[in-house]
Symmetry: C2
Subunit: 332 residues, 2 copies
């Protein structure tokens, strides 16, 4: 009995000592911990001072689930339905009609132009404070269709551990996502420990105006910046002003971010998460409409990028359910 | 003798205990320290959690000297002269001819369009890494015409103390400047303790391209964002995603930043530095071409903004000379 207690204690201690318990032991985990050791050990030839330790992460499909559709797209379709009563004309007007009827074929045909119409109808015309509340309320109430859990609980446990591990080693962690920055910021701090000012994303046009005596930032129906593909290195430079040491993504939208990051001097690391786990999450790559990974899959080995297999490298996929993942949004 | 030692010790201790020794005791200093105490004391009704303690500072005329001209304008004129050998056509072509001849009347007539031509000729066409090196080299070598010291030493000692004091109280300090973000970032960390990712400023267009196999961010001759006047609240929201608690400026270019900041819920503070010290620095406000302060001077009292008098409130103006203020720029 005493021996068993000791054994349990040892198991607990060794688990506590492992900063990445949800990553299975093997070459992938060793490459991640080895990289961090190399750039943080003051005696290492690859040592980098703490202020320059910048790590950037894609969001959709890298930190949380992006199937069967991007969460922000689910938000758009949901908001169109909620706003339809105030817009009776949408019942006959495309692409709104298709959105309301769940007619994905017509939506697909409407392409990027159609998507933009839906985006602007749901993301523009209100103040920045009002939109933060709308996004926050939605994400608190919404549930994923397959897992029936809040989206903010469908974040990847191994990635939460990696974010913590990097921060414990002096890294500053940033999100660099094609998603809308104002859709993410209300909850990234609570869910990922990443504050709003460390979230880089796509941007809608903003106009400052004093409305009825109240200084307000108004969201205008125009895209100001798309933080995807070749936009990602641009977004990083505009926002951070340094080249990252580590870039972690999962799709061809992250290709240029990894390419530019790993072309920097000294030791750098590019990582791609491969969704190959249909049982616990999803399996998709070259043919997916969301998070397509094609060119990255071809070039990863040649470029020295680390390819993470969800199925083989992750002991656990999703984070444990939290009682309340989203903090209330204060009027600010 | 023993009493004198004790007295000196007490003086030294009380100086050490004052976080703002270059600020003269009085209502201005009391307002600053009182504000910080109110938002950081957990028992205060105005308490704000540390992650929300955001303080934003204008740069030109707020953290460093902006007379007789903005430092970045001195950089532009200097670079035009340096590049003139490679551009013999400039000797006959306005506004370059006027810039080379120091013909400020013609330069003034050329207005914003002329200034843009000079800006683009000196700020675009190279990689982001190359520009960082050009800006860094220039600021290391350049001297202010009146004070004959590097510009990075003409930063205000009371403001350095205030930045430190705020950070020691859990604030995150940001620069929000009309100046070019890539002109400031190479030296803000060494001089102000503000890292590149906490500098918000005007932006030139960037394009990502793989040039001769090298992934590169190329600076394009087009302005992407002007972080001045109504652009400042926009820049803050885009970059930081929270409304600041404290905004500190010195000109009408900061008016909207202070207006939007102080319109937020709870205790907020807007501060304007009034340059009224011709002897130690400069005296200018309503009629100045650089850093004009007119509307802000009229409205400060009514809006509850704190007006700092350089002459009365500051014991010392400039920081002490430093042996080497600018860190070498590494290839990143």
């Amino acid at each position: 009995m005493r021996f068993l207690t000791l054994l349990l204690l040892l198991v607990a201690l060794s688990a506590a000592a492992d900063p990445l318990p949800s990553w299975r032991d093997g070459p992938t985990k060793a490459a991640l911990t080895g990289f961090v050791a190399a750039v943080t050990d003051a005696g290492s030839p690859d040592f980098v001072p703490a202020p320059e330790r910048i790590a950037v992460f894609d969001n959709d499909g890298t930190l949380w689930v992006e199937q069967p559709m991007y969460t922000q797209l689910a938000f758009v379709l949901n908001r169109i339905a909620e706003l339809a009563d105030a817009h009776p004309e949408w019942r006959e007007q495309q692409p709104f009609k298709a959105a309301l009827e769940g007619d994905t074929a017509t939506l697909g045909d409407a392409g990027m132009a159609g998507l933009m119409q839906l985006l602007m109808a749901t993301h523009a015309g209100m103040s920045s404070d009002a939109f933060a509340r709308i996004a926050s309320d939605w994400i608190t109430a919404a549930r994923h269709p397959r897992f029936e859990r809040p989206y903010t609980e469908l974040v990847y446990q191994p990635m939460l551990e990696l974010l913590d591990f990097l921060r414990a080693n002096g890294f500053k962690t940033f999100i660099v996502s094609g998603g809308g920055v104002d859709f993410m910021r209300p909850w990234t701090e609570t869910v990922y420990g990443i504050p709003p000012e460390q979230v880089v994303g796509s941007q809608i046009a903003l106009e400052y105006a004093v409305r009825d005596g109240v200084p307000t930032l108004v969201r205008e129906p125009e895209v100001a910046f798309i933080d995807d593909k070749a936009g990602k290195p641009v977004g990083i430079w505009r926002h951070i002003g340094r080249r990252p040491l580590l870039a972690f993504g999962n799709s061809d939208g992250d290709y240029q971010m990894l390419e530019w990051t790993t072309a920097g001097d000294g030791l750098r690391l590019g990582v791609l998460l491969h969704h190959d786990d249909a049982e616990r999450e999803y399996a998709y790559d070259r043919d997916s409409h969301m998070g397509r990974l094609d060119r990255g899959l071809d070039d990863a080995a040649g470029k020295g990028w680390l390819l993470v297999s969800m199925q083989q490298d992750w002991q656990q996929v999703f984070s444990e359910p939290a009682p309340s993942a989203v903090a209330p949004v204060a009027d600010n």
